[in-house]
Every structure is written in structure tokens, then in C-alpha cells.
């Protein structure tokens, strides 16, 4: 950033000589950090105008400034409004007036308050729209769908959870949007066989189709599978589809590459084999939460030699089934057996010894596998990049040494709730590419092991130390020094952590998520250090840090302009701190439970001041004390209230259920 600044300062005239296209090319390289472009534009007037003309994508935070932003950036083609909960018809009118034919993509998935009128206006004016995300627009009805049908050039359309749209609306879209390539109808419960059938009759270009949880049957599935270009099909939770229907698929879809049939309990190996015999070039298959994975099911995959990824999460598996999968699908690179029951050392070993290409393995909650499995995994799958083995409690600590010795390409390692000890950590520190390490609820690790990680895993971006109570400030110091690119750290319930850790973490400028719940020794001064050092902080959870008070909030409001989400429950913050937080214009989500010093009027003032709030979690007793007009006003701004009725808890600072009392259980009353 600084470098860029220095160049124009040094040779401003040279930049004047450059054509706009070349400057555009230079700006193209400024995409690591959105703030870089902001700095660039602030250099001078000409840079400002160049940057405004260069920008193609926009993700505005507050809809109030929409007009201004759109005037400033006339060449916006991708508009992401997912941070604006309130988009009314007039806002859409503004967008359609300013963007006109430039706009090719718009995301309204988190927005409400617009109707088919605004949508129609938008689609009539912005004729070149190619992508629309209208997910979660539960109020949109068929009329809206009919106006979507006006967008003749539409290629991608998401209608996730548009529950009020029926077959008729989908029929309009099918007839109008002939160029559709991607369509997601997940949770559109009003759409059935007829609508989907018409889609597959009219929209021959479809590549990707998500039909999850639709009340569809075989009837339309047969039509869907006749689509020539279909590559990606999601049939999650389609209970209407069963074996009988799939056996009819003699000449099914040959272009299919990804198939998701999670939660389709009515499909057994019979249907699967007829499906897979047709779809020979299938790359990814998900059978999560489906029928039993036994020998027959394994054998039904025998024609899928191209299969690269298989997900069997939550299935009941047998050793013979896993063995058969290993035999037939030798090119597997990703296997997910998360929460499967019946995964044994024998089954897993026979699978992994065949799949030497394996990159990703998920054996979360396979509670019967032991050292032997890990030995086989590490022996044959040396190129593993991701290993998730949360809660494999029967794996002994020696196994983790093997991981570090043999799988040095690991980038992601989830060892939550395992028996790993310092020796294991020391070995794992050899995985220099490690970016994501989860060591939550690992009571056997201490600073000794973690310091090795801090020294050798310099690429670590995410570290989870949740309830790993053996950790102290020295490990965090090592991490903060060694892993300078760290972005997310969770030190929740590491009760020995003090302000020193936060001070050392304040050197990590990329940190955006800090979770330090239940660290009783943390105070406002530590938080102040983090706020001043970590400018990119967006998520902060300081629940149950009783020593944090208003003096911590004021610097936070001052420096952390990017803060989006904060949890202040059970802290000592009062009205003053909360009000000062309101100056953080990005703040969207706030959890404020059991703040002793909070009054209803202070809360109301803070809520009114935080213009961008979309979610507030409050004690339900405040519902009575907050004036209803304020609640209505906030809701009309797009804020959602979540009322919680929790009794004031004894602060839990526990590992394995043993309770350490923090504050006494006092009678808690609000001042009116």
C-alpha cells in the first residue's frame, strides 16, 4: 500500500502519461485487500476518478448511501447487496436508473422489503443482467417470478427459500429465461414436478440445478436427466425420489459430474447403480445421511472409476462397503466419513490403502478408529492436505506423531477433542504449510508443544484453542510472532490467558476474528491494544470477560472501523460503552445479554444510533421496556431482534463439565 502511494508521489507526471487502460491494469493487481484500492483513490483527483471508473464490483454496507455510491462508480456490473437488509422498491429503482445496461449481476439474497414491482423495474431497465440471487425472498410470489422472466439473458438464478413461488412462476421463468445455466430452487416448496419438468423442457442450457427439498418425483427427474449439458445436480432431501424411479434411467445423463443425493433415504444401491451406470463421468458424489453403505452399495459404484469425491456423512457403513469403494474408485481424492457409524480400523484401512491419491479425508466423530487407522492413512496417503478427525477419542497420542512425520503437505488439520500431546504437536509443526489448525478441547497440550507450531507454521491463518486450558501467554506470544498472517484465533475459556496475549496479538495486523470468551483475566487494556493494532477486526467475542468495561469499548469504537459482529454478554459494559460502539458504522450484529449496567433508555439510544444493525440478541425482558415504536423502526430498517430468555448464569469456566463458580447467582433487576 505504501509502495503504491510512493510511486505517484514520486512521478506524478509519469502517471499522467500512462493511458487509462494501463492504470486499470495496475489497479487490477490491488485485489488482495479492498483497502488498497481505497487508499489508491484517495491519492489525488485523477486517481479518484480512475478508480471510480475501474471498479466493477460493489458490496455496499449501508443502503442509505446507495445513490452516492452509484454516482461515484458508473461502471458497476456486479452489485452485492447482501449487507443491506433493507432494499425497497425505490432502492431498486435507484439501482436500475444508475446502473442500466451496465449491471450484469445482483445479489439480493439478504435483502427484504422489495416487491415484484421493483424487481420488474430493475429487470426491465437492466437488460444485461446475467445473475440474480433472490434467495430468502420468502415473500416473493409468482408475479415476481413472472417479472424475472423478463430477463431474457439471465444465466444464473438463485431462488433458495422462495417458498411462495409455485409451479406457475417457475413456468414463467422457464419460458422467459431460455439461457439459464444455473438454477437453484432449494427449499422452494411450492415448486413440484410440473415446474421442474418445464424447466428441463425449456431451458436446455442448464448446467447446474439445485432441487433440494423439493416435493418432486421421478416424473420430472427423468426429464431433468435428459438435459444435455447438466453437470451439477443437487437432489438433497428429495424424498419423492426412490429406487423405482431411478431404475427407469437407462439412458440417463452422461454429462453429469456432480451429484448430491444427501438425505435421500429412499434410494438404495438399486437406484444408485442404475444412476451410476448412466453417469459414467461422475466426479463428485454425495450420499450423506442416506442408506446403509454396504457391499452392495459399494459395488454399485463400480462404473465410477472417474469418481474423485465421495461424501458418506452420517451413513451407517460397513467394512466391506468401504473396501468395495476403495476397490472401484481408485482415483478418489476426497472422502468424507464424518459422523458415520460403523467405521472400523479394518474398513478405513482397506479404503485408504487403495486411495493413494487422497487429498482430503474427514473422519470426524469416527469414535472407533485407533492408531492403526492413522498409521494406514499416513502411510498410504502421504499427499493429504486436509485431515479432519475431530473427536476420534480412541486414537492414541502416538498416532499424531505419525501425522507430522508422514503428511507434510497438510494444510488443514482438525484435532479437536483428541488425545494429542506436546510430542504430537512438535511433530505436526513439521507441516509447514499448515494454515488451519484446530486444537480445541485438547487438554493435554501445553505451551511446550504450541511454541513449536508458532515457530514453524508460519502460514497459519486460523488457530482454535477453545478450552485447551493448558495454554498460557507464552504460546500466544510465539504464535503472534511466528504466524504473522494469522486471521482467526480462538482462545475461549483458556483461563490462563491475560492481557499479555492480547498485546502480542495486536501485532498481527491481519487478525479479523478474535474469540476470547470466558477469559477472566482479560481486561480493557488488552482489548485496547487489540483494537489499536488489529484494524481489520470484524468479529469480536468477549462474552464472560467480566473485567472488560466501557474503557475497552471506547478505543474499540475509535479504531476498529471494520467491526461487524460483537458479543458483549456478561461483561461490565454499560450504556456509555454501548453508545460509543454505535459510532462503528459497520456494526451489524450485536449480542447484549445480561449487561449489568445497561438501561433500556441507553440500549434504545445505542440501537437507534447503530444504523447498520441487522441482528440484535437481547434479553427478552427488554422487550417490555423498549418503546414499541423504536422496535418497529428498527425492524423496518431491517434489524432482526432475537429475544433470549436465559436466566443469568453462573459464569461457566469449565472443562469437562466441572464448574468453577465465577459470579454468584444474584438477583438481577433492570433499572427503569
Amino acid at each position: 500500500m505504501k509502495k503504491k502511494k510512493s510511486i505517484p508521489e514520486a512521478s506524478f507526471n509519469l502517471f499522467d502519461l500512462l493511458s487509462v487502460e494501463i492504470v486499470f491494469l495496475i489497479i487490477d493487481f490491488l485485489n488482495d485487500d479492498p483497502l488498497d484500492k481505497k487508499s489508491f483513490s484517495l491519492v489525488c483527483k485523477s486517481f479518484y476518478s480512475i478508480e471510480s471508473r475501474h471498479r466493477k464490483t460493489l458490496k455496499p454496507l449501508r443502503f442509505e448511501h446507495l445513490t452516492k455510491i452509484l454516482i461515484r462508480y458508473p461502471f458497476i456490473s456486479h452489485l452485492d447487496l447482501s449487507l443491506c437488509p433493507r432494499i425497497s422498491d425505490s432502492s431498486l429503482g435507484v439501482i436500475s436508473d444508475y446502473c442500466k445496461e451496465m449491471l450484469s449481476s445482483i445479489n439480493l439474497s439478504r435483502s427484504k422489503f422489495f416487491s415484484h414491482v421493483g424487481l420488474s423495474n430493475l429487470l426491465v431497465n437492466c437488460r444485461n443482467l446475467v445473475e440474480i440471487d433472490l434467495s430468502n425472498a420468502t415473500d416473493l410470489k409468482d408475479l415476481a417470478a413472472a417479472s424475472i422472466a423478463e430477463a431474457k439473458n439471465l444465466e444464473k438464478l438463485w431462488l433458495v427459500r422462495c417458498k411462495s413461488i409455485t409451479d406457475i412462476g417457475i413456468g414463467c421463468i422457464a419460458v422467459g429465461c431460455r439461457k439459464l445455466k444455473l438454477l437453484s430452487l432449494k427449499w422452494c416448496f411450492g415448486v413440484g414436478d410440473l415446474g421442474v419438468g418445464l424447466i428441463s423442457v425449456k431451458c436446455k442450457e442448464i448446467r447446474s440445478l439445485d432441487l433440494s427439498y423439493l416435493p418432486i418425483t421421478t416424473k420430472c427427474l427423468l426429464q431433468v436427466l435428459e438435459l444435455q449439458h447438466l453437470k451439477d445436480l443437487v437432489l438433497e432431501g428429495c424424498f419423492g425420489i426412490d429406487d423405482d424411479s431411478l431404475t427407469a434411467l437407462k439412458h440417463g445423463c452422461t454429462s453429469l459430474e456432480t451429484l448430491d443425493m444427501s438425505s435421500c433415504q429412499n434410494i438404495s444401491h438399486v437406484g444408485l447403480s442404475s444412476l451410476t451406470s448412466a453417469a459414467g463421468c461422475l466426479r463428485q458424489l454425495s450420499l450423506s445421511y442416506g442408506s446403509r453403505v454396504d457391499l452392495a452399495l459399494g459395488n454399485s459404484l463400480q462404473k465410477l472409476s472417474m469418481l474423485q469425491s465421495i461424501k458418506l456423512d452420517g451413513c451407517q457403513v460397513t467394512s466391506s462397503g468401504l473396501k468395495a469403494i476403495g476397490n472401484w474408485c481408485v482415483s478418489l481424492t476426497e472422502v468424507s466419513l464424518s459422523k458415520c457409524s460403523g467405521v472400523t480400523d479394518e474398513g478405513l484401512s482397506s479404503l485408504v490403502t487403495k486411495c493413494v491419491e487422497l487429498r482430503k479425508l474427514d473422519v470426524t466423530c469416527c469414535r472407533t478408529i485407533t492408531y492403526a487407522s492413522v498409521a494406514h492413512i499416513t502411510n498410504s496417503c502421504t499427499s493429504l492436505t486436509s485431515l479432519r478427525m475431530e473427536s476420534c477419542t480412541t486414537v492414541s497420542s502416538e498416532a499424531f506423531v505419525l501425522i507430522g512425520q508422514r503428511c507434510q503437505f497438510l494444510e488443514e488439520l482438525d484435532l479437536t477433542e483428541n488425545n494429542i500431546d506436546d510430542e504430537g504437536l512438535k511433530s505436526i509443526s513439521r507441516c509447514s504449510r499448515l494454515a488451519n489448525l484446530k486444537l480445541g478441547i485438547c487438554p493435554n497440550i501445553t505451551d511446550k508443544g504450541l511454541i513449536h507450531i508458532g515457530i514453524y507454521c508460519s502460514k497459519l491463518k486460523e488457530l482454535d484453542l477453545y478450552r485447551s486450558a493448558g495454554i498460557t501467554d507464552s504460546s500466544i506470544l510465539a504464535i503472534a510472532r511466528g504466524c504473522t498472517v494469522i486471521e482467526t484465533i480462538n482462545i475461549a475459556y483458556c483461563k490462563n490467558i491475560t492481557d499479555h496475549s492480547l498485546v502480542s496479538l495486536s501485532k498481527c495486523s491481519k487478525l479479523n476474528t478474535l474469540e476470547s470468551r470466558g477469559c477472566p483475566l482479560i481486561t480493557s487494556s488488552g482489548l485496547t491494544a487489540v483494537a489499536m493494532g488489529c484494524k481489520k477486526l470484524t468479529k469480536l467475542d468477549i462474552k464472560n470477560c467480566q473485567h472488560i468495561d466501557d474503557t475497552g469499548m471506547i478505543p474499540l469504537a475509535h479504531f476498529s472501523h471494520n467491526l461487524r459482529q460483537i458479543n458483549l454478554s456478561y461483561t461490565s459494559v454499560t450504556d456509555v460503552g454501548l453508545l460509543s460502539l454505535a459510532s462503528v458504522s459497520c456494526l451489524q450484529s450485536m449480542t447484549v445479554l445480561h449487561l449489568e449496567g445497561l438501561t433500556p433508555s441507553g440500549l434504545a439510544a445505542a440501537l437507534l444510533a447503530c444504523g447498520g444493525l441487522t441482528r440484535v440478541k437481547l434479553q427478552s425482558s427488554f422487550r417490555l421496556f423498549l418503546p414499541p415504536p423504536i422496535i418497529e423502526h428498527l425492524e423496518s430498517r431491517g434489524c432482526v431482534f432475537q429475544w433470549r430468555d436465559k436466566v443469568f448464569q453462573v459464569s461457566l469456566n469449565t472443562v469437562d463439565g466441572s464448574t468453577q463458580s465465577g459470579f454468584g447467582c444474584l438477583s438481577y433487576s433492570y433499572k427503569i
Binding site: A146, G171, L194, V201
Partner: protein
């Protein structure tokens, strides 16, 4: 039964005239003329009947007499029964040697019969010398008739022996043979007949008389069967693949097709849609029209399927249904002709009062539409409405550019607003027509039978009911509109009738 089948008498005149006699004529002529039959059945005053009959159709009393005698002479009846049994062998559809053989044996049998009869007459003469003159006269008449008929039959059969003669057999012979057959069958029919619902026989009785009459009436009227709006879809016969020439093509003129009335009073010229109405009207022209026989509804009958199939041609030149069209597809019945012509070549004059969009040329179509109009909530952008969603989607997937239309404010409102007038219509509809049509017609029957001392009508009704049941289907379709209508009405026989029978009564 249906008063409308009366018209058939006209029909059959024409058809008989155009048909060769080698086809067992009784098939064609088993049409309704039950007024006569009824008299026969309740022959309490046979002579009276005879006289009236004679008055109307002088010269045609012989078969009747034959009945009478037959009645008393079971022996002869048996003979004749045999004859009628042999009769099927008489059917010659296409010439083949076997048929010739049959004919020959038939002739042989006839000759035997003739001889037997003469023997019997000789015997009778001796036994009943002292009987009343009247009876003798009757006997004589009977014998003469029988002889005549047998001779005629022999001639006609002999004629049919030559294949080439088939289509040129003289008209008179046909008539005569008809007469004969009638007599023959009566003999078997009459005595189980009275009061017993032996339906077939009754029918045969009808036939005989009627055919006789037919013969004498001459064929001055054209085949103008009208008034039957039974909407047998004129496109529904695609399954039929009759080789050209295997059927006879009739073509009605446009005026005939569109004529509102088909029954005209011969005295004052007033036109009626229904023969029953004409008969009621005729009462005003004198007492002779008030007799039960004159008022009773002619019943109809059909027999075996031996007649040549008739098909109809649309008079509109260039129409696929026109006989000159390359890919000519004939229409099955006269009713088909009427509906086809109206739908295809006439203006659509009936507009739906509810939607003001749909127009029809056949009233029945309008009625059908009105039943559904407004209730079709599945709407296409092209304006077509569907009562079922899957039909709409089928339509949309078939046509380019059509898209489902979203009702602006829910069709229910519109429906309710126009509900009131509709109700009245529906009521009307229901009363005047419909499945109840048959009931209605029965009612007319009963009315007639009230005049009829002999209470033949109930019997007659029975006839229609069970009699038709026993007949195979093809003849009815061939026989033409009136019959098929009747049937359908009474039995729900073709699928469409329930729906369309309404219009018959309404129009």
C-alpha cells in the same frame, strides 16, 4: 322410448330404396313403426285396425291378415320360424359361392314350405268347412300373402344368385320380400307377445308392419334426419379404416344440414323438430290422428349387421370430409355431418355470456363450455384456460412462447360475480335435457299410452330397453343418427352422449 326415432321411417325409405334386396331387408327396415305394432299387440279389435290401416294405405293389408291367421295357427308359425332361422343364410355381403349355396338351399326349403302349405290348406279346407266366412277370407288372404311372399323371396334370392345382380335388384321385390318377412316373423312374435315383454319378438313385429308400410309409402321424402344433436365427435372415427367402396357414401346438402325442422305437417306444412311434436300437432287435423296408433311413438329395431355400411360426406368442397377429397375421411352419422358442418364451415354464433371470448357454432359446445367457464383457473398467456395444471404445463411445453399467466386477483372473484346468471341457465339446462332426457321421453311415452287403451307403450318401452341391449353395436351406428342417439341416451353407450344429449332437447 324416444319420440324422435319416428323419423327413421323416412330414413329407411330412402335407404331401402337405395339398397339391394339381397341384403336381408329386414335389417334395414326394422325401424320403428310401432303404431302399427301396437295395434297388433293389443289386437282386441283387429278388424278396426285393419280398416284404418287400409284407409291409410290401401292395398296393404295382407300381411296384417297373415298375422291374424298366424296367431291362430301355430303350425304355420313354426314353419315360418324355421324360415326365419334359415334366413340368416340369406345374407350376402359380398358374393361368394358359399352364399350361393346357401341361397340354393334356401330356395329348396322355400319350395318345400310352399308344398307343405298347400298340403295344409287342403287339409284345412276339409276340416273347417263350416267355419265362418270371415275366417275363410282371412285364411285365403293369408295363404295368398304367404304364397306371394314366398314366391317373391324365391325370386329375389334367385336373383341374388347372380353376383352382378346384387346391386340392381328391383325395388319392388325388396318391398315385397320385406312384407313377407314381416309376416313370417310376426307369426312367431305374436303370441308370446301380448303382455309379455318378449322384446325381440315385439320388435320383429314392429318391423314387419313397418316395413310393409314403408314399402307402400314410397320414398318421396329424402333422407333428412335432423334434430339429433348428439355430438358424436366427427373426428372421432379416425380409428376406422374402411376400404373405399366398402361403404356407401351419402351426402346431404347444406340446406338439409342446416334446416331447423325436419318434420313437416303434410296438411298445413308446419315444421317440427321432433316427430313427437308433429304427432301431437296432427291431432288437431282430425280424429284419425288421435288414435293410439297414430299417436304412439314408432319404435325402432335393428337386426343383424348385414346391411352395407353407410358413411356420410360433407357437402363443402375441399373439406377433408368431402368425398372428393384425396384423403377423404367419411363421417359416421348424420349427426356427425351436422356437427362437423356447423363447427367447420359455419360462423360461430353462440358466444359465452360469461367470458365473452369463446364462440361456438354448436349450442351443445357452448353448454359444455359454460359448465367449465370461469372454473378453469389455469391460464395460459395465449388465453387458453385449463381445468388442470398439468394440462396447462403440457400445453406450455408444447408451444413456443406460451407462458403461464398469473391471475391478477384470483379467479374466484370473477367467478362469483358472474355466478348468478349462470345458475339460472344451469337450471334450465337440467330441466329440459340431459340424462333426464330419457326420463322425459318416457314421460311422453306414458302420455301416449294414456290414449292407448291397449297400453302398449310400457311394453314398447321395455322393448326399447332390453331389445337394444341384445343387439350388436355396429348396426346401430350404421343405422344412423336417430338410433344411435336413442341408444346412447338410454344406455350411455357411446361415451359422449351424456354430455351432448342436452342439446338435443334444447335445440
Amino acid at each position: 322410448m324416444d319420440p324422435e326415432d319416428k323419423i327413421c321411417e323416412d330414413t329407411w325409405i330412402k335407404s331401402s330404396s337405395s339398397h339391394e334386396s339381397c341384403e336381408p331387408p329386414n335389417n334395414q327396415h326394422l325401424t320403428s313403426f310401432d303404431s302399427l305394432q301396437q295395434k297388433m299387440d293389443g289386437s282386441s279389435s283387429f278388424l278396426d285396425y285393419g280398416t284404418t290401416f287400409d284407409e291409410q294405405f290401401p292395398g296393404f293389408n295382407q300381411p296384417s291378415v297373415a298375422h291374424k291367421i298366424n296367431d291362430k295357427n301355430p303350425v304355420l308359425g313354426k314353419h315360418d320360424n324355421q324360415m326365419s332361422e334359415a334366413q340368416p343364410s340369406n345374407k350376402v355381403e359380398d358374393w361368394d359361392p358359399r352364399a350361393t349355396l346357401n341361397n340354393l338351399s334356401f330356395l329348396e326349403k322355400k319350395i318345400h314350405q310352399l308344398r307343405d302349405m298347400v298340403h295344409w290348406i287342403v287339409g284345412q279346407r276339409e276340416q273347417v268347412m263350416d267355419q265362418r266366412d270371415q275366417l275363410l277370407v282371412h285364411q285365403q288372404q293369408l295363404i295368398t300373402t304367404n304364397l306371394t311372399s314366398i314366391i317373391v323371396q324365391m325370386i329375389s334370392t334367385a336373383g341374388s344368385l347372380l353376383p352382378s345382380v346384387k346391386h340392381t335388384v328391383s325395388y319392388s321385390s325388396a318391398i315385397n320380400s320385406l312384407g313377407h318377412f314381416g309376416g313370417v316373423q310376426n307369426s312367431s312374435g305374436i303370441f308370446p307377445n301380448i303382455g309379455i315383454p318378449n322384446v325381440n319378438n315385439v320388435n320383429k313385429v314392429d318391423t314387419s308392419n313397418q316395413t310393409d308400410l314403408t314399402g307402400f309409402c314410397g320414398a318421396e321424402q329424402n333422407c333428412s334426419v335432423e334434430d339429433h344433436e348428439l355430438k358424436s365427435d366427427d373426428d372421432a372415427d379416425e380409428g376406422e379404416n374402411l376400404p373405399p367402396g366398402s361403404y356407401e357414401i351419402l351426402q346431404l346438402e347444406k340446406e338439409e344440414i342446416l334446416a331447423p325442422h325436419t318434420h313437416f305437417c303434410t296438411i298445413c306444412g308446419k315444421g317440427f323438430k321432433r316427430d313427437a311434436n308433429l304427432r301431437m300437432h296432427m291431432r288437431g287435423h282430425g280424429d284419425k290422428y288421435k288414435t293410439p296408433a297414430a299417436l304412439a311413438k314408432p319404435s325402432k329395431e335393428s337386426t343383424s349387421e348385414s346391411m352395407l355400411i353407410k358413411r356420410y360426406s360433407c357437402p363443402y368442397v375441399g373439406c377433408k370430409r368431402n368425398k372428393d377429397h384425396k384423403k377423404f375421411q367419411p363421417l359416421k352419422t348424420i349427426l356427425c355431418v351436422k356437427n362437423h358442418y356447423k363447427r367447420t364451415h359455419c360462423d360461430k354464433t353462440y358466444t359465452c355470456s360469461r367470458c365473452n371470448a369463446k364462440k361456438f357454432s354448436v349450442l351443445a359446445d357452448l353448454k359444455t363450455h359454460e359448465k367449465h367457464c370461469g372454473r378453469d383457473k389455469w391460464l395460459c398467456s395465449c388465453g387458453t384456460t385449463f381445468s388442470r395444471k398439468d394440462k396447462l404445463f403440457g400445453h406450455i411445453s408444447l408451444f413456443q412462447g406460451h407462458t403461464p399467466a398469473i391471475p391478477v386477483d384470483g379467479p374466484s372473484d370473477a367467478g362469483q360475480s358472474s355466478e348468478a346468471p349462470k345458475v339460472g341457465q344451469m337450471d334450465f339446462n337440467f330441466k329440459s335435457s340431459a340424462p333426464s332426457g330419457s326420463a322425459f321421453q318416457n314421460a311422453t311415452d306414458v302420455k301416449f299410452s294414456g290414449d292407448d287403451a291397449t297400453s302398449t307403450s310400457p311394453l314398447n318401452f321395455d322393448t326399447s330397453v332390453s331389445g337394444f341391449n341384445e343387439f350388436p353395436r355396429p348396426p346401430f351406428e350404421d343405422v344412423g343418427s336417430s338410433f344411435s342417439f336413442l341408444l346412447s341416451d338410454a344406455y350411455g353407450y357411446p361415451p359422449k352422449n351424456g354430455r351432448y344429449s342436452n342439446s338435443n332437447d334444447v335445440e
